[in-house]
Structure formats: structure tokens, C-alpha cells
Symmetry: C2
Subunit: 333 residues, 2 copies
């Protein structure tokens, strides 16, 4: 019975993911490619904006606060801390390799990075600002005014330019050259026997049905709790919020497994802190399979080979505010 | 009358600052020297710790949260945001060039950077952790264990090593080669006529009596409000908290003017956002002198020549927690 259920689950998810029930697992996972077409001036501007807390009401929270590039592009908290220490409803997904995802946010409500970037700025529970105020701050900072003009060739900054620049920077945040990618590219001694056994299990037990593509995830939406329901600590209901379809309740974007060693805690509610527990739960709830201790350890060993080269760059120096810059409002008002 | 008062104030502060009522102003200010003896391995470890929010209870606040190296080593807020969004009592001073200060904190209660570094970690209003818990977090992170051992040659991490490493990193955070320093070192066209006029005013009106040394400040404690009282928005009473002497009430460490263009808002209560207003208040309250619009603009122009080369370094990548690492407690508990 369990086997049957598992097979069914795999077939369903494969159909959802790639539209065909074949199982050419090696081809389902590909090494990450460094980005091929980056506007460097725009990415450099985007990097500053990504680190600039003046895009928040408080002047304290930047993109990097919750998608911390020192920490796997996440905040390593179950759910994030927003303006006035509000508790977020969902785990902050990593920004690393997010350009490879089919859509952004757990429910996929943003089609791309640019659309995503505007969300937290204006979310009252996150940066608690407005697009208008954020743009107004930027246009009072002479160095930004010059840099936007250089990059976009326009006399006036707008939110579209802001999110375009942030998205361009985020496109650079890929992590190639993990040991697994080295192995995929032909370095046959890049993985140990246990790691290879983990990869084999990952394929054969059906993990790869959802965690596939360059990003080992991010290619489809899947129900959390196929074989057994998942008792989430988060009120989020997933994809249904976007499609309105009852069938999409508790369906979430499959998260990437790239750098998963760095992006704890796991799942959309951030309830699980260890890969061991995450693998166990995924096996039982999604595949109807209870991995043995040894199998679990092998899969975890494989997952740790997915840690790629982290983006290395100089911390940006932000241009100073001018006397005309509106002041942050961290407390009250 | 005003002139007499001013002369008195200058003489008093000169005696306080350098112990002699001479007025060799050029010699009172010196160019910043790059640090001459840095333990690079220790500084690299310290950089990671400086950026690591796991030294806080919430897992969200690091040294860099309030002494942000993208923003002049400060947070550009009147007073800082601490654990649970608590409002701090005083403006966060810049970490830049802080190794050149005679002591740390506005009241000088820490004799050096090492003593300072332990303060915020254990302050319930800031990082809200304890030294014991911070060390316990670090000793569960294998990469940190190895790096501490490499740097300190001991089998066990302790808080003394943690603060020593952070202080070593902070020693690297000097900002040489400002335009003013280039001028001091002989590049006579480094300053404009207005900037030079500002420097002349800065010396002759007595600013340099307190704002002297390599750091144009940080060499002495002085009363805030010599000629006229300062109506502070902060409850802090300054140096009296350390010495217990009533004469030290409202006496604060003279802040550095290095990079002052970047370290707004100003004064220990962060009440003033523009250099124009800060110069006006300082003139009236400390020197009994009302600068004209033109004089004020010239002094501000001079102050902006004190922006040095900001520390440029690669954003550190932090080692991941292990399954044994205690979890952050951002909410409740």
C-alpha cells in the first residue's frame, strides 16, 4: 500500500513538475550556471539598495536583514522579524539562486524577482514603508540620483527602477561549483560513497520528482502533506491565496535544496531545524516512506554536497542622506 | 562678555584635553595612520563575529546592526533599536576610528574596544544575550571551534577570545586619506578656499580645543552645554555614571568628527540631523558664539572633508550552526 501511494505521489508530482511521467533523474538535475547576462552598473546599484535600510520606515530593516548574504541568503529564523518586531507569518526563503525559481514567494504570487522586490518594502509587517516614500528618500540622496541616472538614463527615480536594480543584483546571487555540481560535471571523486548513496536514494525514492532542475526545487508547486497531513505552525495556506482553487490549499512552491545546509530552519513554517528531521518528515509525509537511520544519514550527506560557492563581494558603502532626506520613523508615528 | 566666556571655555577644555593652554592648532590635528600591527587571522575571525547575529538572543541583531559598516559605522538613528524593538537611551557612536578614542561609550565606561565589545551582547536592551550563552552557541559551530583554536591556540572558546577578536577587527576600521588628511600631508590643492576658511574658523573659534587629535575628538570628556545648557532628549547623564562626581554630570566623551558627514544624527541624544544645525548649536552652547550663515557653511564644508576611505572588505560568510546549536529566541521566552 505504501509503495503504491508513493508511486502515485511521484507520478503526480512529476506530471506537475515537468509534464511527463518519465524518470530520467540525472537529467532532472543540472549544475548551476553562473549568470550569463548581467548589467553590472545596475547590479551594483541594486546591491546598495539591497543593503539600504532607508527603504524601510524604521531605517533599520533592509532586504539583507531577512535574506542575509552572510547566512545563506536567509535569516535562519522560523519566521522573520518585521517592523516593530512583528512576527512574520512564514519562513523567509533564501534569495540565493532565486532567479532559477518559476515564481517568487512560497505561494508564487510574484512572477519574478522584480515583482517580489517591491513586496516587503510596502508590507506593513515587514519594512512597513510605501513605494512613494521609498522613492522620495532616494531622490533626496544626490549620489543615488546620479547613479540611477547613469544606469537608467532617466531624470526621475521610480519604484520600477528600484525593483529592477534589486532584481539585477539578485540575479548575481547564484552559487555554482558545489561538490555535487563538480560531480555532475565529471569530477567523479568529488563525492564520497555515502554521498553518492544518498543521491541514489534521493532519485530512487522520489525526492527528485519535486526537487529537480538547476535549483533542485523551485520548478513547481506541490501539496505539503501528500501521504500524511502536515501540522503546520504557520497559518499560511499556500497557492490557494493566488489561484483561489481549493485544490491548491497547502500547496507551496517546492523550495530549492541548494545550500540547504545553510538555510535552516526548514519548511514554510520554519518548524524543523535539522536536515535529519526534515528528511524524515519529507519521506513519511510526501513519499509514504520511513527512511532508516542509515538512509537518512546518506541523504543528509548528499544534501550537504549542494552547498555552492557563496556570493563574495565587497560590502557596499551607502551614499549619505542629505539635509532634505525624510527621517526614519523607528518608534511611534 | 561672550568673548570672555568663550576664551574661558577654550582654556578650560584645552587644559582638560591636553593639559596645556597652548594653541598650536595644526599640531593638534593629525592625519590618520593605517593600523600598524594587526593580527590578520584574529581580525578575520572578529569580522565574522561582528556580523554574526547569533551573538544575540533573537539571532537577528549583530554588532553591525547598530554600527553598520555600510553607513559610517553607525545606524543613522537618533537612538538604536534593541531586542524586541526596545528604544535605546543614547545615540550609537560610530565604530570607525574608535580605536583612537581614549575610552569607549559616551561616558567612557569601557577603557578599550575589547571591554566595549562585551557590553551590547549582554545588555538586555540591546542584544539581550549572556556571555555564557553566546560562547555556548559558538562552541557548537564546528568551523568556529577550529578557527578560534587556530587563532588563540586553546581548546576552549571563552568570552575573552570573542571580544579580543572583535576588537582586533575593529582596529582595522580606520578611515585614512580623507581630503583633509591629504591636505595635512602636503597636497595643498586638496581643499577649496571655503573648506580652508572653515578649517581656519574651526581652529580660531575654539572647536579644535575639544575636537583634536587624530580623530578630531575622542581625546577627552567635556560638558555638553558650557555657555548655555543643552536640553537633551536623552536621560543619559554622561561621565558622572562612571566617576560618581557631580562635576561630571552631562559630561560626555567628545565625539570624533571623522566621517561626520556619514554619522548623522548628532549629539549623544541624536536629536540633530544636519551639520548646519549641529555647528550652530555647538557654537552657541560650547563657545558662546553665533556663527554667521557664511561661517557656518564654511565650517560644514570643512567637516565634509573629514570623510575618509571607508573600510572595504568582503562580506563575511558565516559558518552554519550544527544540530546542537541552541536556537535563537526572537519571540517570547
Amino acid at each position: 500500500m505504501k509503495v503504491k501511494l508513493r508511486t502515485l505521489a511521484i507520478s503526480m508530482t512529476l506530471i506537475g513538475a515537468i509534464g511527463a511521467p518519465t524518470f530520467a533523474a540525472e537529467e532532472l538535475v543540472k549544475p548551476i550556471q553562473p549568470p550569463k547576462s548581467i548589467n553590472l552598473g545596475m547590479a551594483e546599484l541594486g546591491k546598495k539598495l539591497y543593503f539600504d535600510p532607508r527603504l524601510s520606515k524604521s531605517g533599520f530593516i533592509s532586504c539583507n536583514s531577512c535574506h542575509n548574504l552572510s547566512m545563506g541568503g536567509a535569516d535562519n529564523l522560523p519566521t522573520s522579524i518585521g517592523h516593530n518586531w512583528q512576527q512574520g507569518p512564514i519562513n523567509a526563503p533564501t534569495v540565493l539562486n532565486s532567479s532559477l525559481n518559476v515564481a517568487q514567494f512560497w505561494d508564487g504570487r510574484a512572477p519574478d524577482l522584480k515583482a517580489q522586490a517591491g513586496g516587503p518594502i510596502a508590507n506593513p509587517g515587514e519594512m512597513a514603508f510605501t513605494h512613494e516614500l521609498a522613492v522620495h528618500v532616494l531622490e533626496t540622496i544626490p549620489e543615488y540620483v546620479r547613479e540611477f541616472k547613469m544606469v537608467f538614463g532617466k531624470d526621475k527615480i521610480d519604484i520600477d527602477q528600484v525593483t529592477t536594480a534589486i532584481a539585477e543584483f539578485e540575479k548575481t546571487l547564484v552559487t555554482p561549483n558545489s561538490r555535487f555540481d563538480q560531480w555532475l560535471l565529471g569530477k567523479k571523486d568529488a563525492l564520497t560513497a555515502d554521498e553518492l548513496a544518498g543521491w541514489k536514494l534521493f532519485k530512487e525514492s522520489g525526492c527528485v520528482a519535486c526537487h529537480n532542475g538547476e535549483n533542485l526545487g523551485g520548478t513547481s508547486f506541490q501539496k505539503m502533506g501528500i501521504v500524511e497531513p502536515y501540522k503546520a505552525k504557520s497559518p499560511a495556506e499556500g497557492r490557494v491565496a493566488v489561484t483561489g482553487k481549493d485544490a491548491d490549499r497547502f500547496s507551496f512552491k517546492v523550495p530549492t535544496l541548494r545550500n540547504v545546509e545553510l538555510t535552516y530552519p526548514y519548511f514554510h513554517d520554519g518548524a524543523v531545524w535539522t536536515l535529519k528531521e526534515a528528511v524524515d518528515i519529507m519521506g513519511r509525509l510526501q513519499l509514504g516512506r520511513k527512511f532508516t537511520e542509515k538512509e537518512n544519514a546518506q541523504i543528509v550527506a548528499f544534501l550537504k554536497t549542494l552547498t555552492g560557492e557563496q556570493p563574495r563581494f565587497t560590502l557596499p558603502i551607502l551614499p549619505p542622506s542629505s539635509d532634505k532626506t525624510p527621517r526614519p520613523q523607528p518608534f511611534g508615528k
